[in-house]
Symmetry: C2
Subunit: 227 residues, 2 copies
């Protein structure tokens, strides 16, 4: 990792064209050749960047300015003209052990697969990621009467999630094997359900279920968790 603080102006040409007027900025050159241009504000997104794989070529212009030309395989180019270098240092970071995540949709799905009855009394799991022609249903369950129940899980329940579940239900209810005892019902499960999504779901006869992640996690075997 090389870190350069420099007064520079930048031109990017790729999917779009962009220009950065001359100013003092931070340039990060990662080991894989990727380049990030950061200012002192904004968010984690750089002003400009080049994703790997790419190559950096360092040149000197006729008037003695340093110029970097970053080129990707897809012909995107980032041209950085450096007027003044304020800082330049390199650091060997090694390979990062990586990030351990917890609490995303996949994890919610695992927990609900273990405890389907928290969604509706008497509910039991048939299959996780139940495959259909238009995509996998998060959880396929059966209630105490033997009726099938399709569960769509979201961290945040919005309208598109209800649409997704509606499409699944439409398809599933054409399957004679699943509808022997009656139609397949739907449960829309999320940690937070937006009012519009709730209205749409209930209008379509889909049950909404709020998921308490911390409660579920507490029910889970703590010895399996790292933290």
């Amino acid at each position: 990792m090389r870190i350069v603080v420099a007064t520079c102006q930048i031109d990017y040409a790729g999917r779009l064209t962009a220009h950065l007027p001359s100013a003092k900025r931070v340039l990060m050159l990662k080991a894989d050749g990727s380049v990030l241009v950061h200012s002192d504000g904004g968010s984690y997104k750089p002003l400009n960047w080049m994703s790997p794989p790419c190559t950096v070529q360092e040149d000197l212009t006729v008037d003695g300015q340093m110029e970097w030309t970053v080129t990707s395989k897809t012909d995107d180019t980032l041209r950085i003209v450096i007027t003044e270098v304020h800082h330049d240092s390199s650091h060997d970071l090694g390979i990062d052990p990586g990030l351990q995540k917890d609490g995303v949709e996949k994890h919610l799905q695992e927990l609900l697969a273990e405890h389907p009855a928290t969604l509706h009394d008497g509910l039991s799991l048939v299959r996780r990621e139940y495959t259909t022609a238009i995509g996998p249903v998060d959880l396929m369950c059966r209630d105490s009467d033997g009726l099938h129940v399709a569960v769509e899980i979201k961290r945040r329940g919005e309208i598109d999630g209800v649409e997704q579940l509606t499409r699944y239900l439409e398809l599933l209810n054409r399957d004679p094997l699943l509808t022997v005892k009656g139609p397949v019902r739907g449960i829309f499960a999320a940690q937070l359900i937006k009012p519009q999504a709730r209205v749409l779901a209930e209008d379509r006869g889909i049950t909404c279920a709020l998921v308490d992640y911390n409660l579920l996690r507490g029910m889970d075997d703590p010895s399996e968790r790292l933290f």
Copy 2:
């Protein structure tokens, strides 16, 4: 902007929970208080971060390690325990003049609104952002026979864009005022059209039009442009 290269371990708790084991990483502290944790790979996205507005509190643990606690208004927290500092420098960057972008969908739309005939011979503009109940049609045009033509513009033409135009056409073709002389046709215009999108569009009777951005820009009045 403060840049620290340090051996550190990190815990994040917010919308999700995440943990980073001890390793050498680059920490960027921006003037607005935001913090970015970068490794030597990946893309422009940091391993972990905290978006502004947030505050950084610097402490010393009982065993003499440096510890940063970054807190946001929404109670997200990022805890960074630093074992060893390899580099630490601060730089006054000032306010960045900002990025000038060129070639995004909006700009394409402006250019095509000025030159609709490049999409199809004899085409003339009726209205940009033609409002319907399900959203605005990018360009509403009329051809040399007086038939209405709805144009959907994308930088990259993919299936969802075709779906969008299909929905518009379905609705527009129910309007007796627009269909006096015949049905409303569709043109799917993009700088690049993916094969699947092209197949779907043509199957639905939608014409595909590749847009040559540089050509259009050349037709445009150059005195209006900055570069």
